[in-house]
Subunit: 349 residues, 2 copies
């Protein structure tokens, strides 16, 4: 099993095909400007020798790696327990694969890891980085900026540093939240509560802001803080029921939280949606669909966000399009994108 078989080099292929290294290189990289006869001969030699180019050598001269880092800055177990990341990763993976780029996953937990990530990015192993789930006090963006690696963020980074050139992909969290709350109001609900997400993330803050946009003079007791988890949702819901037993609607910061809230409402003997209408956020399947009752929620296309992040990054690396040097992009920094959300009506509101 252990290799030992010394990989054939370009040189070897050249010798076998009776051409120069340069020609083999040309063939391997597309074969433009080489006569068909030679192309064929080289191909054959490559085949016979089982030649595979040595990436390290190639990168050394091209200064490209065809790899991007995906940095997930989630300190908790949540990282994957939350399907959110999974979906984004899938989107990213698909897009990168389609452009023959590899994905280097960097999971960080804790401060030392940040330094490690910074070093890695600065080390020039990858052509760019996709960064997720930033928290307000996160030192990562600065490290990355210093590393000088083209980067696209997932979610608007809530970060006070130099914003120039910062590119991100986000959902219209605030607009989606407004839609949700308006929908609840449209149902005639008046005591509309909000269970927030982790407020050190901009998505949670934005959704809260959207709630406030509609509920201008909301009873502050109608806002309960949670953290995007089912357990947090339960806790917050209990709190709400205690302080405001007359609550008749809940807009939860995400579906996970909503599912926790549903459980508590059920326990308390309240009917959903008759007594309390509930709306989530994400439209996380199958969670939302199979909730009891099925959850009305604000959908965001998470996989598409991932795909878009990758696409923006690749474009800024000048490889998004077959040959992106035509007119528009010219490898210029693309700008951030905010994706729309849609309200999905099910039984819970």
């Amino acid at each position: 099993m252990t290799d030992t078989a010394p990989r054939p080099t370009l040189e070897a292929v050249a010798a076998r095909a009776g051409v120069s290294r340069a020609t083999v290189s040309r063939v391997v990289n597309g074969g433009d400007g080489v006569r068909d006869v030679l192309v064929e001969r080289v191909r054959k030699a490559v085949e016979e020798l089982g030649y595979v180019p040595n990436q390290a050598a190639r990168s050394l001269v091209t200064r490209r790696h065809d790899a991007v880092a995906v940095v997930v800055a989630e300190p908790e177990t949540r990282v994957f327990a939350d399907p959110f990341f999974a979906l984004q990763l899938r989107g990213i993976s698909k897009e990168l694969t389609a452009h023959d780029n590899q994905m280097v996953l960097l999971l960080t937990e804790g401060r030392d890891d940040h330094a490690r990530v910074g070093r890695y990015l600065a080390g020039g192993h990858v052509d760019g980085a996709l960064v997720f789930s930033l928290h307000l006090d996160d030192p990562l963006p600065e490290l990355i900026q210093r590393a000088g690696v083209p980067t696209v963020f997932g979610g608007r980074p809530g970060w006070r540093g130099d914003r120039r050139g910062v590119v991100y992909v986000d959902s219209d969290n605030r607009g989606g939240a407004r839609d949700a709350v308006r929908h609840l109001a449209g149902l005639g609900r008046t005591r509309i509560a909000h269970i927030t997400g982790a407020l050190d993330q901009t998505s949670a803050v934005d959704r809260l802001d959207g709630y406030r946009d509609v509920m201008v003079d909301a009873d502050p007791r109608l806002i309960a803080e949670a953290d995007f988890t089912p357990a947090g949702g339960e806790r917050a819901m209990r709190e709400l029921l205690e302080h405001c037993p007359d609550v008749d609607a809940v807009f939860a910061a995400n579906d996970l939280t909503a599912s926790g809230a549903l459980r508590v409402l059920r326990e308390s003997g309240r009917r959903v949606p008759e007594d309390v209408a509930v709306i989530g956020f994400d439209d996380m399947l199958p969670l939302a669909e199979q909730a009891d009752p099925p959850l009305t929620t604000v959908r965001q296309d998470i996989e598409e966000m991932g795909r878009l992040m990758a696409r923006l990054l690749l474009r800024s690396l000048d490889r998004g399009t077959p040959h992106g040097d035509g007119a528009q992009g010219v490898g210029g920094t693309p700008s951030s994108v905010v994706l729309p959300t849609t309200l999905v009506r099910r039984a819970s509101a």
Copy 2:
């Protein structure tokens, strides 16, 4: 933001420190056999110039990358929806990080992807590979073997090829299943059903075998095939209720499946565990704990499996231990490991 700043090279550092490239290299790689004065001078120069070694150049000569590929051969959405992978990945990530190795994630969906993965591994981008979730007909192991990359599999590969040198980490699926079924029998249950996992994976087959070990002459109608998903569990449970309304216990191939079964049992008006006892597999938290009723299940330490996979791989690359050339390993191929399982009693059985 866009780089442009040409990275300083070893040469530059050497010039600034007034030493040779070789000396700088020595310092950068540990600094053995260099006088402290020079070490200090070089360190200073590195600092001032912000020098970071070029990995491509280094790999070119050392033939090491300090990176391993993690191949997830799951064609379906399950890849991450199932916390199983998430946990393994965490374990892997931790272990790799601890040894300064990077993780290159390769998600495959479909046949073409296999070729891609094969090419990638053969390309010598990584020092080794960790491969998951193989299905019986999967061409991947063979491709990998041919690529000559040291590999550790997650779960026993069910594969008819050359088994020599195949290293894997697995749980004692069969033993765990036996424990579960024996437990049910110990409760006095006699009509014990089994809902299988996806039978193209060895873990599902092994659990079925464990079930059969105990239920030697089981009514074949007590075995319903599913696929490790909640939806599959529901389907299988409905089937079981139809064919064997007298079923009084169910051993499901994993917790996800069990949760589906629980739902159907509840719908059918049966009480768990009074009418039907249920046992799952995995002890996936919080799913198992928060199920209604909390799920009795067979625990396997998934994160540890991941960690172990990484450790075995690193050891076979001769970097597991500070200097693994002591007595035992000597970089020799380590052997496979099968981890024990434990039955966790909760309310459902």
